[in-house]
Each structure stands twice: as structure tokens, then as C-alpha cells.
């Protein structure tokens, strides 16, 4: 496309592309914008080096190679805040510049946003139903090795407490946590047989009694007894990773209390998703370790965001294929709120349209613009929010949903998106 556009003089036509999802997966009520901070990092360094140029050498003409060699994005990007909610057709990112400089970013932008929004949109439902209890992200092993690091960040954004991925801590300061694996207990097997207490003793000696001991390698009741015998009643936590977690949690809670370990917490893990978390709400569970279902988006491993050209030299454009209509024209987006802080609806308007009338509509107390500058003239804006800022924004945003919007059940989007035409 770039080669042909350079040749016929259309490469620099001023274009606007928008990123949006046509629908929410699995009839969920809301999505969570994630990956914006990661995208700033990746876009800022997006260049074609000599290795890439050399690899393309045979298949591309000299003019295109030269253009790639000098490539850097010089346009503007506006985006929803990371942590904000989105709904069908919410234009979460708007890219403006020459056609070629914008179209070449499609794959990178969509890859980052589709992955991170998928994980965050699942994670938010887990945090929401977790009702304040600690959630530990443990899914790295079930995702591509780099996707795993990004997933840990997206999970933390939504309110997960910590991650087992140390690289996410190194890159972005996500707090790390972990417990030992069954392998560590099995390691302490001797010719005379299993020796769970030796494993527990080694762990407590190294990490103190505040650690979390995994008690289900052999017999859970014996495992709990061994744990308290070794660590004493001030043991931090025990983890149960298999079996009927609700039944086991009650049984282990009773046993811990009887052993005087009333403050020892119970961590459960093992293929948990938002529904399993909901099912354990009435049980004496203090923390959840969540892996596979989080990093795979709990049934929706991609957010299905698309990157569509909506305007060329001021002319709104859209393809007219069946079932894949795109709203033409570059758009602004606003969200209206009641006086209680509850969100009312999302409103899309042509860019620059006067929206003062929105504030006068019934029940509207506040009108907030959703698109904020992210890159201006190819440079990232200063004072971008930190991951902690975005995490607070996400927690606050969930509170603005109408009450049925937090339901795990399938249904319509929690907010309607209204389009105001030209």
C-alpha cells in the first residue's frame, strides 16, 4: 500500500484512522482500555533499522525503502485514558497524519490494544466480583513469553494486587508475589519417602513465617498440620491448588482456627475465572491466584479492535460492505454523568462540534471529553499518567457504571453510544 501510495502521490493525503470495537465479546457489559502506556513506549521507538531494511531489500522498490529508512511518525494521536471504560464503537484511539505514516502503524497499534484490552476487560470483571480480596496474577506460563509480561501489567491496571511475573515488576513496577510450586515439596522426597515438612522448613527458614505454604501436594489435612507444626500459628498463608476449593477452604479454615492460626490466610488457585471467584465469595478465601483464564481474556483472547480510515483530506469515508459498516468522519467522544456520578451515555460527534447543548439535556450533570492528546506532531505529550494513576482511574471508572453494568451475566452494553451526525 505504501509503495503504491508513494508512486501515485496519495501517501501524504491527510488521514484520520480510528480504533474501535464493533461489539463487546461474549455480550459483556463494558470493556477496559489498556495498553495505552505500552503503546507510547512502542510507538516512540518504532523505526526501521538496517536489519529490517536489508530483509525487505529484494521485494520493495528503492523509493519505498528510502521512505522506510527515514520513517518516523510525525502526526497526532488522541486516546481514551488508560483504565477508562469503552463500549461498542467507542473511538479509543484517533490517529491523524499522512496516509502512509499512519497506515503503517496499524498492526502495532492493534496488537498492543487488542491484547491488553482483552486481558484488562477480563481482569476487571474478576476484580469487581472479587469484592476487595487480593487477586494474584499467575498466568505467565499460559501465554507467549512477552505477552505474559504485558498481561501482568494489564491485570494490575484493573486492580489485581500483584503478579508472579518479575519482569513486569522490573519494567513497570507491578508488585510481585509468589508461592512455591508442588515441585519444591516433591524435591524434598527421600529414598524413605515424601518429606513435606522438610520442604516447609526450608521455605520458612528462607522466607520467614509470613510466607505462603502450598499444602495440597499430598494430603491437605496433613499438609495444613505440617505447615503449622513447622511455621507455627503465625504462618502467613496456605495455598490450595486443586479439588473443590469451596469445601476445602471451609475445612482448612476450621482446621487452622483449631490450631490457633486464626490469622493465617487461605489462598486458592487452579483454573479460576470470574464465575469461580463469584462462587467462592461466601467461602473463607482471602486471596485468589488467577492464571490461564485471565491471560486468555476469559473466553475472549482478543478485544477485536479494528483500525479504520474514517476521513481523507476532510472527506468522511467508510466502506459499505455488509455487516462491517464503519461510522465515517473523525470523531470526538464524550461521556455524560448524572449528579450522582453515574454515567448516562457516551456521545460521538464530528471533531470540533459544539457540545454545549449536551450539558443542558435532562439528568446531565457533567460532560467529560474522552479523547486526550497522546502524541502531538509525533512527540508523546509530557505528563502522561503513571500506571498507578491509570489503576486509580480504572477503579473510579467502574464505580460510574449503572448498577446492572457490573453484572457478570450476558446482556447489552452498560452504556449506550449515541452518534450525533454532521
Amino acid at each position: 500500500m505504501i509503495r503504491a501510495a508513494l508512486a501515485d502521490g496519495t501517501a501524504d493525503r491527510r488521514c484520520t484512522f480510528e480504533v474501535f470495537a464493533r461489539r463487546l465479546p461474549l455480550r459483556r457489559r463494558y470493556g477496559v482500555v489498556a495498553g495505552i502506556g505500552r503503546l507510547v513506549e512502542r510507538l516512540s521507538e518504532f523505526r526501521f533499522g538496517e536489519a529490517e531494511i536489508a530483509a525487505l531489500g529484494d521485494s520493495i522498490d528503492a523509493a519505498t525503502l528510502e521512505w522506510l529508512r527515514g520513517y518516523r511518525f510525525r502526526g497526532d494521536i488522541d486516546a481514551y485514558a488508560e483504565g477508562e471504560l469503552y463500549f461498542p464503537n467507542s473511538p479509543i484511539l484517533r490517529v491523524t497524519g499522512g496516509f502512509a505514516e499512519c497506515v503503517i502503524l496499524e498492526t502495532l497499534i492493534l496488537s498492543v490494544l487488542n491484547h491488553d484490552c482483552a486481558v484488562a476487560s477480563a481482569g476487571a470483571r474478576m476484580v469487581s466480583v472479587g469484592d476487595g480480596r487480593a487477586l494474584i496474577e499467575m498466568g505467565s506460563r499460559r501465554a507467549h513469553e512477552e505477552a505474559a509480561v504485558a498481561a501482568a501489567r494489564a491485570a494490575y491496571l484493573t486492580g489485581f494486587t500483584s503478579t508472579s511475573n518479575l519482569e513486569a515488576e522490573r519494567r513497570w513496577g507491578v508488585p510481585s508475589a509468589g508461592t512455591s510450586a508442588h515441585a519444591f515439596t516433591l524435591l524434598h522426597t527421600r529414598p524413605s519417602g515424601a518429606d513435606e515438612k522438610a520442604a516447609f522448613r526450608a521455605q520458612v527458614d528462607a522466607l520467614g513465617v509470613g510466607t505462603t505454604l502450598l499444602v495440597d501436594t499430598y494430603d491437605i489435612t496433613q499438609g495444613v498440620a505440617n505447615a503449622i507444626e513447622v511455621a507455627g500459628p503465625r504462618l502467613g498463608a496456605v495455598r490450595i491448588d486443586s479439588g473443590d476449593l469451596g469445601v476445602l477452604a471451609r475445612q482448612v479454615r476450621r482446621q487452622l482456627d483449631e490450631l490457633g492460626a486464626g490469622d493465617t490466610r487461605i489462598v486458592v488457585s487452579g483454573d479460576l475465572d470470574e464465575y469461580a471467584i463469584a462462587g467462592l465469595r461466601a467461602e473463607p478465601v482471602d486471596a485468589y491466584g488467577i492464571g490461564t483464564r485471565l491471560v486468555t481474556g476469559s473466553g475472549a483472547p482478543t478485544a477485536s479492535m479494528v483500525y479504520k480510515l474514517v476521513e481523507v483530506d476532510g472527506i468522511p469515508v467508510a466502506k459499505r460492505s455488509a455487516h462491517k459498516e464503519t461510522l465515517p468522519g473523525a470523531k470526538d467522544a464524550y461521556r455524560t454523568y448524572r449528579s450522582t456520578g453515574t454515567a448516562l451515555e457516551e456521545v460521538l460527534t464530528p471533531v470540533g462540534a459544539d457540545v454545549s447543548a449536551l450539558a443542558e439535556e435532562p439528568r446531565v450533570n457533567e460532560v467529560r471529553p474522552l479523547l486526550r492528546p497522546l502524541f502531538v506532531g509525533g512527540e508523546p505529550v509530557s505528563a502522561l499518567p503513571s500506571l498507578e494513576d491509570s489503576r486509580r482511574l480504572q477503579a473510579d471508572a467502574r464505580i460510574t457504571l449503572p448498577w446492572e453494568g457490573l453484572s457478570l451475566a450476558e446482556g447489552d452494553p452498560a452504556l449506550a453510544v449515541r452518534v450525533i451526525g454532521r
Copy 2:
């Protein structure tokens, strides 16, 4: 775990870990081993640099930091050939060495294998039902930016013809292909209106008449007429990306033939999976562009492989938790074949067991060992198969399945896995 094991003297106990899936997802009939070549690259460079050491500094004791600083894997790894089939409990990778040097590889090994096996296991079903027609991998935008590159490689392994991911071509020589996007057609909009022919002309001028023109931006019938008017009857292909693809393919085929473009091929794309491909087998479709459903494993985005300690200093070990039993002891794996080349079963034995009796069993014509050395003493073996070798092996392996093993329908694994004890 490493800190505690270093402190109590168990860090160097000789251990064997095995990688396997307890079951195949979605009751599929077989899985495809993928990622082995990528794993060799990643394991060969797996070290802790100063940045990583510094990031861990506060939370880990000096002895463990020193161990990490000097870390390199010095053990042995045996693995199924990349492209080989696997079934529940197939030990596709076996890692032997000191506990600490092996356990630290768990996340990296599982991340690579879980991702690549998931994509390949879906891709093989698509290739199998595609019945020799070209399949183009187009899913990069729907996956994490690095996972996308790995997914293109895994797809090619299973028989996909090409990928839209140029980085996969640069890294691993996967042939690249692509067609233009709707944005390129929309780019040629003028104040007077859409100008599809200008877009087609630009593309043909740049890439020649062998290119693939996307004909469904506006009206498909007009799009096909415009395509042939601009490119002539020797146009390489047209692509249809929306609508009822079967109906449209028939209609477009008729139109192309009437226009004298009998050799112009038809490429279809748009949320295709193995079932959609099967549904289009009777239609005049020449190639499929496949994206989302491939890179997300067509409903199974992770292969659910686990990495389990099975032996410590020669003692077979296994946890006894409900529903998560592991077969204890380091294992060898064999597959038996009939004289026709059809696979009979997979047999797991203790490492080094005499399996000469297998060849004497009824119907058995050949017994092939499945585990081959990958690393010896920490060094990758020489003469590892190329990606092309693995692609041929995968095509050959699929042919060995009993006929019902290629069914898309849910069912039992195509091969039974028999365990011979000590």
C-alpha cells in the same frame, strides 16, 4: 524456591521435569508440537543481566543473586520433534539437571510451548480441511505484537502458505504475502466521491497485474468489474472480506469467467476458522486469509501444557492432589505404526526400559522413539531441523493418523497413550 533450595542444600539434587498436556482442548483428536526451534533460541540466551539482577536486589539474598548472576543451564533436554503430533500425557519435553537450574526454566518453556502449540494445533486443523488450497496467515493484529510473530511461524509449520507478518519472514524465512486493505481504496476518495478504479490502478501500477485486489469496499459486482477493467483479465486475484462468502465466491467466479478472467483467483477472508473453511470446500475459493481464529487457537488460546517434576535423584515423584495426578518417573516415549504407516498407539516407558517386545506385538511394523536430544550438557545439539524440515515432518505426521483422527468433530484422542510401569 531457589533461595530456599540453595540454603538447605537441595538446589543441586538431580531432577527430571516433563512437559505434557493432561488433555487436549475442546475434545480435539490431536495436538501439534510447536515452538521447539524457538525454545532453542530463547534457552540458549537465557541469562540474568545486570539490569535484572539490580531489579531483584532488594528482595533476594546475596547467595541467590550470585547464583543468578552465574546462571546458565548445564543440563540435558530431550524433546519431541517440532511438527510431531502429541496426545494427552505425551512427554513432549524432558529436562534433566539440578533442581534449581531446571525449575527456573519453567515459565519460559511453558510460555513458548503453550503459545506455539495452541496456534499450531488450530492451524493444522485448518490446513487439513483446506484440502491443498492456499492459506494465508493474517492474524497479527489480533495478537500481542511479539506473539504475532511467533504465531506466523507456528502457522507456517502446519502448512500455511504464507503470512502477512514481515518480521516472521525476516527472522525465520516464513514466506510473506499480503493484499491491500479497505483503507487503500478509501484513500482514493475525492471530493467528487469514491474512486475505486484509481486505487486499483495505483496498486496494479506498483505491483503488476499479478496482485490481489480487494473488491468489497463498495459494491462487489462493480468492484470486480472495476478490477478487471483496470488490471485486465490476467489479474492475479480478487479478495472478498465480508458477506456470505460462499454465495459471493460463486457469483464472483461466474462474473470473472464471463469477463474472460478464468485464471483470476478468489481469496476470501473474514473471521474464518476450520469450520468455515470446511463449509467453503465446495465453493470456488482458491485461497483463505485467516486471522483471529488462528492466532487465538480457535477457541483454545493456550495448550495447557504443564511442567512437572517427575523424578528426584532417581526416585519417581508425583503429587497426589485430586484431578491433577502426574505420572511419576522420567519417561521415554515411542509410537508404533502398522505396515501401512498408520500410527497404532503411543507408549510411555521408564527411561531406558527395553522396548524390544513392542516390535513383536500384533500389527506393529515399526517402533519410533519420540524423544530426541535437544540440549546436552547445556549446549544445543548440532544439526537441529530447520523450520522447513519441521513443516515436512508435520505434514507427514498428519498422514499417519487413523482416518477418524482428522475429523473436526469432538471425540477421543486419535491415538491411545499406554503407560508401561516399572
